[in-house]
């Protein structure tokens, strides 16, 4: 035993040469794993200061959701799928985050985003405030605001920005720049006259005063007055008569409302507000059909980095794929998969446009969902398809597996949500289960599929990225970003 151990140590040190030939040595599985081992041993622990920090959040992209997206993207590229790697899965450092809110076992995005961005856990539904304030009590919240990594970066003279496919006033991006006792305070119409008189400010207004250089996403309605009809024919929500897009332009910023405008952005522009939809931007699966034309998450990320890179002091950027979450809530895995692929492409662009040595990139999810990959599907089975298994010799069969009710089932299912079966389960034999509008079957009937409480993964590369390690509290992410870039110093 001792001898074997010694030989294994020698093997590791010497790399791919083995003292005793192993019969499995010629297998590609073996060789690939050996190569990964070599790579990992050579991965440097970068200790220089990070000039730039990018935090990528795929809202609701838990570990099971991410696995399904990996297979989906791989199969779209003609692979079996399981062996594929999403862009950020090539990052060298990984941890698991415990996502609970200070008052909830299963978290929401406002509490989790505040944890990641401001370094402390807080209550469900609140943005950028401590957990001793009741949700909705915006007056008490005024004395309990906590600065985010974005605020600290701004104070340090860095350029800052937020990008999201959800409304830019939605929970995750809002936690980067705003303080609000309720995530629903997206514009002034959500605040009472008393609250306004006491000094409470809506989230969209705070987007302008935060001094960010880049704001790209949806949510135009919260920036324009109710009397105004926007470029795509939808009215605003503000009751104070303010047009924040005009105010932004008066401050010297560029304003764009469609993909065309973003693509033709003045290359010298150093401040840009892009609001591409009245509410959330389209799902990636529906983007082509948009009236005004919308940029992809990767296009927005690239545009953001181009603007922010002009600052010699570096930048802090939050990029959110906001609608993986929404598709899961709808029980519609197809759209979650498509938005997940678009998210991986956005991370890919960011790695290409920045340097490993001076840019810390952290990729994570804020919480998980009830998506499960169930049954015993054969290798390469279409990820959205009916489950087809193996025969007794372990070879693939061509007919779908049948449940105890004699009907086939899909690999992907949700534990709860609108797909819940009431009464007899639908026979899926002649249903196109890979259709973009298919709602996966579920167990517990709910109008909206729910978040779940299990851990999510954190991936990291760049300076001090190796501190992303182990099972950590979600608010630890802020502390790594702060340490790497010296944000609070």
């Amino acid at each position: 035993m001792k001898k074997l151990l010694a030989s294994m140590v020698a093997t590791v040190v010497a790399g791919t040469t083995f003292a005793n030939d192993l019969p499995q040595q010629s297998s590609p599985w073996f060789q690939d794993a050996q190569n990964v081992l070599m790579q990992k041993m050579e991965t440097p622990r970068l200790r220089g200061q990070a000039k730039n920090v990018i935090l990528f959040v795929a809202d609701g992209n838990g570990v099971s959701s991410n696995t399904a997206i990996r297979i989906f993207e791989g199969q779209a590229q003609g692979l079996l799928g399981e062996e594929h790697e999403l862009s950020f899965e090539k990052f060298p450092h990984l941890a698991l985050a415990k996502t609970y809110n200070s008052n909830a076992q299963t978290p929401d995005s406002a509490g989790t985003a505040t944890a990641m961005l401001a370094g402390v856990k807080t209550r469900q539904g609140v943005v950028g405030i401590t957990d001793n304030v009741d949700r909705g009590d915006c007056v008490t919240a005024l004395d309990n605001q906590i600065p985010s990594a974005l605020h600290l970066a701004e104070r340090k003279g860095k350029a800052t920005g937020v990008v999201s496919t959800a409304r830019v006033t939605h929970a995750t991006p809002a936690a980067a720049y705003a303080f609000a006792a309720d995530r629903n305070f997206e514009d002034d119409s959500a605040l009472s006259d008393e609250q306004k008189a006491a000094g409470c400010v809506d989230i969209a207004s705070q987007a302008l005063t935060a001094d960010m250089e880049v704001i790209l996403g949806g949510g135009r309605r919260h920036f324009i007055p109710a009397e105004l009809t926007d470029e795509e024919g939808k009215t605003g929500r503000r009751t104070d008569g303010r047009d924040l897009t005009k105010e932004w332009q008066a401050q010297g910023g560029e304003y764009v409302w469609n993909r065309d405008g973003l693509m033709k952005l003045d290359p010298n522009a150093d401040r840009v507000l892009g609001l591409f939809e009245s509410s959330h931007m389209e799902y990636e699966a529906d983007r082509e059909g948009d009236a005004g034309g919308e940029p992809s998450l990767a296009e927005m990320t690239a545009a953001a980095i181009n603007v922010l890179n002009k600052d010699e002091d570096g930048f802090f950027l939050l990029v959110e794929s906001g609608r993986v979450d929404h598709a899961h809530h709808a029980g519609n895995a197809y759209r979650a998969m498509m938005d997940g692929v678009a998210f991986a492409e956005a991370v890919q662009i960011a790695t290409q446009m920045t340097n490993l040595e001076d840019t810390l990139i952290i990729v994570t999810a804020d919480h998980s969902h009830t998506l499960v990959m169930q049954g015993y599907a054969q290798r390469g089975n279409p990820i959205l398809g009916l489950s087809k298994g193996l025969d007794s010799q372990g070879n693939p069969v061509t007919e779908p597996s049948l449940a105890k009710d004699g009907k086939p089932y899909t690999t992907i299912a949700y534990v709860n949500g609108p797909g819940a079966v009431q009464g007899e389960r639908q026979d899926l034999s002649n249903v196109d289960v890979e259709d973009m509008d298919f709602v996966q079957q579920a167990l517990i009937p709910m109008s909206s599929e729910t978040h779940t409480a299990e851990d999510v993964a954190i991936y990291a590369r760049g300076p001090w990225a190796w501190l992303i390690d182990g099972t950590v509290e979600q608010n630890y992410i802020f502390h790594v970003m702060d340490h790497a870039a010296g944000l609070s110093q």
């Binding site: 629903n184 949500g417 609108p418 009431q422 007899e424 196109d432 259709d435 909206s448």
Partner: protein
């Protein structure tokens, strides 16, 4: 309630067939009507979708959506109608079917923006004189 339940059990059950169209097939990009939609204007069609929770009781119409009208209590303080919805005018008062049950609607397709006199509901496309069945 019991009566409704029994009634639902005996509703004829349609299965998807090749002549059943999807709401999204009525549109080309940019929310313009597709060639298929134009060719079916004024004709009898079968369309699959979900019944949105009715706007009022005892109505003779409902809104058909391509997916169940799920609202995330965390994500949204209110529901937004998707752009691609279908106004369905039934032959009689609507028997409400849970908004998560897949349906097939049969009736006459009508294209073009119209305001419903009774409710003020604005629709771009309708199915009138409609029947609907659960798809199982």
């Amino acid at each position: 309630m019991k009566y409704l339940f029994v009634f639902l059990l005996f509703l004829p059950i349609y299965t998807y067939s090749s002549d059943t169209i999807k709401i999204r097939e009525l549109y080309a990009g940019d929310m313009q009507f597709s060639e298929l939609a134009k060719s079916l204007d004024g004709k009898r069609v079968k369309i699959s979708g979900y019944m949105a929770p009715p706007l009022k009781a005892q109505a003779d119409f409902f809104v058909l959506t391509k997916m169940p009208m799920a609202v995330c209590p965390f994500c949204e303080s209110e529901a937004d109608w998707p752009d691609d919805i279908l106004f369905v005018r039934g032959k009689d008062t609507i028997d409400v079917i849970r908004y998560t049950e897949p349906l097939i609607v049969t009736g006459i397709l009508e294209l073009g923006t119209k305001v419903d006199e009774e409710t003020g509901f604005v629709s771009r496309v309708r199915v009138v004189n409609a029947d609907y069945e659960r798809a199982l």
